[in-house]
Amino acid sequence: MSADRLTSGESARVVRLERGAAHLDDRRVPFEVRGNAARAGAPIEIVMDGRVHRAAALRDGDRIFVWVDGRTFVFEREQRRRTRTASDHSGDLLSPMPGRVRKTLVAPGDPVRRGQPLLVLEAMKMEHSIRAPRDGAVRRLLVREGDLVDAGVELAEISS
C-alpha cells in the first residue's frame, strides 16, 4: 500500500501499512485488526503488543475522523490539505452564515495582512471573524455594522 503523510494538529507522520504491521515514519509497529475496517465508522479493535485498542474511524473528503480509547482526533492528508487551502481563497469574503454584522474592523483603503480580521458576524450567540484571504487593501466594504446578511452574500472586496 502507498504511504500517506498525515497530520493532526502539530503532529505529522508518514504512515505506511503492510500486512500485519504499520510503518510510522521509520518505526515498524506490528498490529492486528479485529472487525471490519473497510466499513466507515464501524467499531474495530487494533491489537498491538498484546494490548487491545478500541477504535472507529472514517474518511470524509480530506479529513479522517478517528476515535481511539475514548479520545477523538482529526487527521488530514497533507498534499490534499494544501490543495484545499489554495482553493479557499476565491470564496471566503462571502458571508458563511446568515447573521448580523456585529463589528467592522477595517475601512475602505486600509491595508490588510493575510489572516487579519475584517469584520465580526454574529449568529445566535456565536461570533465569527471574517479574515483577509491575502495581503492587500480593502477596496470596498459592502456591509455596515448592524446589517442582517444571508449566507453567501459578499461582504468586502480586497485588492492584491
Binding site: 493532526s8 479522517i64 475522523f65 470564496g91 444571508d150 453567501g152
Partner: protein, 491 residues
C-alpha cells in the same frame, strides 16, 4: 391541552416532545425547510414547515409560527429556550390567537428583559444587585459620575442585552466615553435599543443560579441552585448541582432572594435567577431568564422531578405539586451536565458538517438529551449545541468519575466537537477540588486532543485506505451543505 406546538429545534424540542408524549399530548414540530430531515422533526407526532430563509424568517417569525399552529390545530405553544422564548410580543400573540402559552406572563418577560428596569425592581424587592449605575443615569455626564462612584474596572452593558451578549469591559476612566458611544451603537444594532448602563466588574466570582417556579395561585418556590462557573466566551459548558460554593445558610439566603425576585414580577412557570457569588461569599442578582434553562436537567435529576411536565401543568392552570410547596422536596446526590458543541476544540469557533457516526454513552446515571442523530447535518446558522450529557450519582466524586467514563464512550465522527475540552475540564485539579471560578476554562492548557497514540495513526491509515474504495456515498452526502456558498467552516 391536546396538541402542543414546540416553537424550537434541536435538543430542547426533542426533550419537550418526550414529556408531552408521556402526558398524552400530541406534539407538533416546526422546521425551516433546510431542517426538514432534522432529528427534532422525527421526534414529534407531526410537523409543519416554516418555509425557507434565515432564522428571522423561520424560527423567529411570529406570523409563520402562528400560521403553523393554525394549520395543525395546535392549542398550546412551548417556546423552549432561545429563539422567541423571551419575546413578550410572541407570548401576547400566542394568547391573542386563543392558544395556551407555556411560559410566564408577557409583563414578567418584559420587566426582566429590560435589564435596567429589572435591577430597579430587584432593588425595590430587597434583592442585592451587582453594584452599578442607577436607572435614571443615562447621559455621558451622569454615567461618568456613576463610574467614579462604582470604580473600575467596570462593564458597559446593553439594557436590552443579557446572557453575556452586548457588554464591554472598561479599565480606565479615560476610556469610558468611547466605550459608551461604542456600546450604544452596538446595542442599537443588535437589540434595537441603544440604552446602556454600568456594572462593576466583579472578578474571581462564581456564577450560581437558582431555579424558581410559580403558579397562577401565587405560589412561588425555589428548586435549589445550579453552579454554572465553567464558561468560555461567557457561555456555559459544564454545570453541576449542588454548588460546592454554598453552605446551607448561604443556600437558604439565596433561595429566599430568588423567590422574592420571582414574586416581585408575579412569576408563573419555570424561571431562573442568576447570581454572582464574590470572593467574600456575598451574592448579587445578575439577571433573570424567563424560560426553561438549557441546564434544567441537573435539577430534574437531583430532585427526581420533570420541569417540563410542571410547566405544562401550570400553564393549564394547575397549582404546583404539594411536595414543592410544603418544603419536603430535597436534592439527592449530585448531578453534572456537559454540553457537547460542534466547534473547534482549540479556538472554540462553531463547526459545520455531517454527523457520520454517533454513539452515545449509556449505563447507570447517564442521560443524553440530544438534538442530533447519525446522519444529521450541522449548519452554522443555529446554536452549535449538539447534545447534553447529564450525569447523576450519589456524590460529587462519583459523578465526576461517571462523567469521565461516559465521555470516553461517546463516539462522534464527521464534525469536530468540544469533547477534548470537556475531558480536560473534568481532569483539571481546579474542577476536581470544586473550588473554581468563571476563569476555569481560560486557565486550562489550550491544547487540542494532544499527540495521537500509535493506534490512532494506524486507524487513520486504515480509514484512508478503506475510504478510497467505498466513499462515493459518504462524499456526496456531505456536499449539500458545503456546495452552495463555497466557503469553509471557521475560515
Amino acid at each position: 391541552m391536546k396538541r402542543l406546538l414546540i416553537a424550537n429545534r434541536g435538543e430542547i424540542a426533542v426533550r419537550v416532545a418526550r414529556t408531552a408524549r408521556e402526558m398524552g399530548i400530541r406534539t407538533v414540530a416546526v422546521y425551516a425547510d433546510s431542517d426538514a430531515g432534522a432529528f427534532h422533526v422525527k421526534s414529534a407526532d407531526e410537523a409543519a414547515s416554516l418555509g425557507g430563509g434565515p432564522p428571522w424568517e423561520t424560527y423567529l417569525s411570529i406570523p409563520r409560527i402562528l400560521e403553523a399552529a393554525r394549520a395543525t390545530g395546535a392549542d398550546a405553544v412551548h417556546p423552549g429556550y432561545g429563539f422567541l422564548s423571551e419575546n413578550a410580543e410572541f407570548a401576547k400573540a400566542v394568547a391573542a390567537a386563543g392558544l395556551v402559552w407555556v411560559g410566564p406572563s408577557p409583563r414578567a418577560i418584559e420587566t426582566m428583559g429590560d435589564k435596567l428596569r429589572a435591577r430597579a425592581v430587584m432593588e425595590a424587592a430587597g434583592v442585592p444587585v451587582v453594584p452599578g449605575s442607577r436607572a435614571g443615569s443615562l447621559g455621558d455626564a451622569d454615567l461618568e459620575k456613576e463610574a467614579r462612584r462604582i470604580g473600575f474596572p467596570l462593564l458597559v452593558k446593553a439594557s436590552a442585552g443579557g446572557g453575556g451578549k452586548g457588554m464591554a469591559r472598561v479599565e480606565r476612566a479615560e476610556d469610558l466615553p468611547a466605550a459608551l458611544s461604542e456600546g450604544r451603537r452596538l446595542a442599537r444594532a443588535a437589540f434595537g435599543d441603544g440604552t446602556v448602563y454600568l456594572e462593576k466588574l466583579l472578578e474571581g466570582c462564581r456564577h450560581v443560579e437558582f431555579q424558581v417556579f410559580g403558579d397562577s395561585a401565587g405560589n412561588v418556590v425555589s428548586l435549589f441552585e445550579r453552579e454554572c462557573s465553567v464558561q468560555r466566551r461567557h457561555q456555559k459548558i459544564v454545570e453541576e448541582t449542588p454548588s460546592a460554593a454554598l453552605d446551607p445558610k448561604l443556600r437558604a439566603a439565596m433561595g429566599s432572594a430568588a423567590v422574592a425576585a420571582a414574586r416581585a414580577v408575579n412569576y408563573t412557570g419555570a424561571g431562573t435567577i442568576e447570581f454572582l457569588v464574590d470572593r467574600d461569599r456575598r451574592f448579587h442578582f445578575l439577571e433573570m431568564n424567563t424560560r426553561l434553562q438549557v441546564e434544567h436537567p441537573i435539577t430534574e435529576e437531583t430532585l427526581g422531578i420533570d420541569l417540563v411536565r410542571a410547566q405544562i401543568d401550570v400553564a393549564s392552570g394547575e397549582p404546583l405539586p404539594a411536595a414543592w410547596r410544603d418544603g419536603t422536596l430535597a436534592p439527592r446526590g449530585h448531578a453534572v451536565e456537559l454540553r457537547l458543541y460542534a466547534e473547534d476544540p482549540v479556538d472554540f469557533l462553531p463547526r459545520a458538517g455531517k454527523i457520520l457516526a454517533w454513539q452515545v454513552p449509556e449505563g447507570p446515571g447517564v442521560r443524553v438529551d440530544a438534538g442530533v442523530d447519525e446522519g444529521s447535518v450541522v449548519g452554522l446558522e443555529y446554536d452549535p449545541l449538539l447534545a447534553k450529557l447529564v450525569i447523576s450519582a450519589g456524590s460529587r466524586g462519583a459523578a465526576i468519575a461517571r462523567a469521565r467514563r461516559a465521555l470516553s464512550e461517546w463516539i462522534v465522527l464527521g464534525v469536530e466537537t468540544n469533547l477534548p475540552l470537556l475531558a480536560e475540564t473534568l481532569e483539571s485539579p481546579a474542577f476536581a477540588s470544586g473550588d473554581y471560578t468563571t476563569d476555569l476554562v481560560e486557565s486550562l492548557p489550550r491544547s487540542s486532543a494532544g499527540e495521537p497514540p500509535d493506534a490512532a495513526w494506524i486507524a487513520a491509515a486504515l480509514a484512508q485506505n478503506a475510504g478510497s474504495s467505498v466513499t462515493p456515498a459518504t462524499h456526496e452526502a456531505v456536499d449539500p451543505w458545503s456546495a452552495p456558498s463555497g466557503w469553509r467552516a471557521g475560515a
